[in-house]
Symmetry: C2
Subunit: 326 residues, 2 copies
């Protein structure tokens, strides 16, 4: 492991001290049928869909917001761009910290997501549909209103906050041999990797993505393969549709995670979702379904038999129940 | 309390010793939004939808099956009639006890329910649509194959098994002032009432039913008001559509529970379900939705302010996710 990493295991421990009293220690579930479907491994599901704000994003957002408040009493508030889980997570975190919060969302974002952000007392600011529209609107707001920008993943305190999942999971299931993590910008996977590989250096961290992300190329070559501005992938999993991982997160992932990536199709994600709904009675979003499907995939069945106890991160449950993908 | 009750608190304690190693200690969830919707009370949700077989029925069924095996080594197997949760619960329990299991289901029962029973290795026997058809098919099978009949609720060991929910819930949340319980035949509510009123005599047990059950009349007059053969109510909540409570359960309920009954409409149950799906990320069936809706009802808001901490039993999560009622 590189010793010059900008986020240390200690940052994760400090994040845990800072945020754990406000968050759920999410339960870990097992399922006899899941074990069978994985080809006889033991599968452990970490239910971050039951986390405050409906996803793991509450952890990193709260760590960043509380650190911001600690370091700067004159903070006028926080701002981010996200129509999804980070927007809800930050809105929730700001309400806990009693700070104003502005969330930039594309005008055409689903009403259900806008309402969720509003329900935590944040202010919505609408923008255009391109990733770059969001960044510009966010920049403007930051300057005009003297706000602190809390990005969704490429931020030290956000990554350290998400890393607390790794601490908790290995405390709950010390025998884990591997963890399957859905990845978008890489904040959660980087954080969990830092925590888990420090506690248990032999553990294997596998990333799960939609088709077309080309993350395996990045991990294998050690270079970010993506040109130009950020792009979205064609996938039903809105939580993990960003193609590129971040500038801070990518080197951490290259350093710590396995080179083999689980690329899942929309249909596989839907099957993973349905398994969770029907057999585990958990509402999960498509990004979580991707990790469930990875645990049941042929690729997992072909893995070394020494990988016996497999953790699956159910990253969130923010799905429109009036428009389920089946 | 009557001292001549045929099921004692000790039966519940013994059931707990017998079955707990095979079952989930289901988690208790809270929700800030649920507290708000209840008018400022603290609501605690006991997630029996996450129980083995997808409902609380696994508890009573397993207690009955294990007692049956203890008392009679020559048992050829068990049989019951139920297209729903008890059928799945018994099929699961028999698989744990390694006993053959036959489940009588109406021919027109949904395929999803039949498949769930089959998935635990039980044998399905189809019958006609009337409640009496089930009883007759079950009787015949019991005699022909020398099976032990395990009824869904009117049975000492089944009631004692369901009572373990009360033990667990008060261990997890000792400050409970009241518990809201969906009721069909009354096995779960009788069991919980025996356990909870023994541990905490001041606790109030409130029953939740579909419209038209007339249970309040029964509790108030102390007499079973229902003539003739068992009838089904018109309701989307298939888990609680039986009109009559049982011959064993009814006197226990008359003795121990509050006279006021929460009668919920289909629309209220759907709203309760949607709250659990959207805000708590839990898949629950309509009977559970009824208890959620009861916690948010005007009737609950009008209750004495001394009832501050309210338990809600999410009795099951066996709903057809391809045919959700919204």
């Amino acid at each position: 492991m590189a010793s010059d990493r900008i986020i240390s295991f200690n940052d994760v421990l400090e994040a845990n001290k800072r945020i754990s009293q406000f968050l759920h220690k999410t339960p870990v579930f097992t399922s006899h049928q899941a074990d069978e479907k994985s080809g006889g491994r033991c599968i452990f599901f970490k239910a971050e869909n039951l986390q405050k704000s409906g996803s793991f994003k509450a952890r990193g957002a709260l760590n960043a917001v509380l650190k911001c408040r600690e370091s700067n009493n004159a903070t006028c508030g926080v701002v981010t761009h996200s129509s999804g889980n980070h927007g809800q997570g930050l809105a929730w975190a700001a309400s806990v910290a009693k700070l104003p919060c502005y969330v930039v969302v594309p005008q055409m974002a689903p009403l259900v997501k806008k309402n969720a952000i509003l329900s935590y007392g944040a202010e919505l600011v609408e923008c255009g549909a391109k990733p770059t529209d969001r960044y510009e609107a966010c920049d403007r707001l930051e300057k005009d209103k003297n706000l602190v920008f809390i990005p969704p993943y490429d931020h030290q305190d956000v990554i350290a906050g998400q890393g607390t999942i790794g601490l908790e999971f290995l405390e709950q299931v010390p025998q884990l041999d591997a963890i399957l993590i859905p990845v978008s910008g890489g904040g959660m996977s980087a954080g969990i990797a830092i925590a888990a590989k420090t506690i248990k250096p032999d553990i294997k961290i596998f990333l799960v993505t939609p088709k077309g992300k080309k993350l395996e190329e990045c991990l294998t070559t050690g270079k970010r393969p993506w040109e130009g501005p950020p792009q979205y992938l064609e996938t039903i999993a809105d939580g993990i549709r960003l193609q590129q991982t971040g500038y801070i997160t990518t080197p951490i992932l290259i350093d710590l995670v396995e080179k083999q990536v689980f690329e899942m199709s929309d249909q596989e994600m839907v099957e993973g979702m349905k398994f969770a709904f029907e057999r585990m009675k958990l509402v999960i979003e498509a990004a979580s379904g991707a990790a469930v499907a990875a645990a049941f995939s042929q690729k997992m069945k072909n893995m070394d038999a020494s990988i016996q106890n497999v953790g699956v991160i159910l990253c969130g449950g923010n799905v429109d129940i009036d428009d389920l993908p089946w």
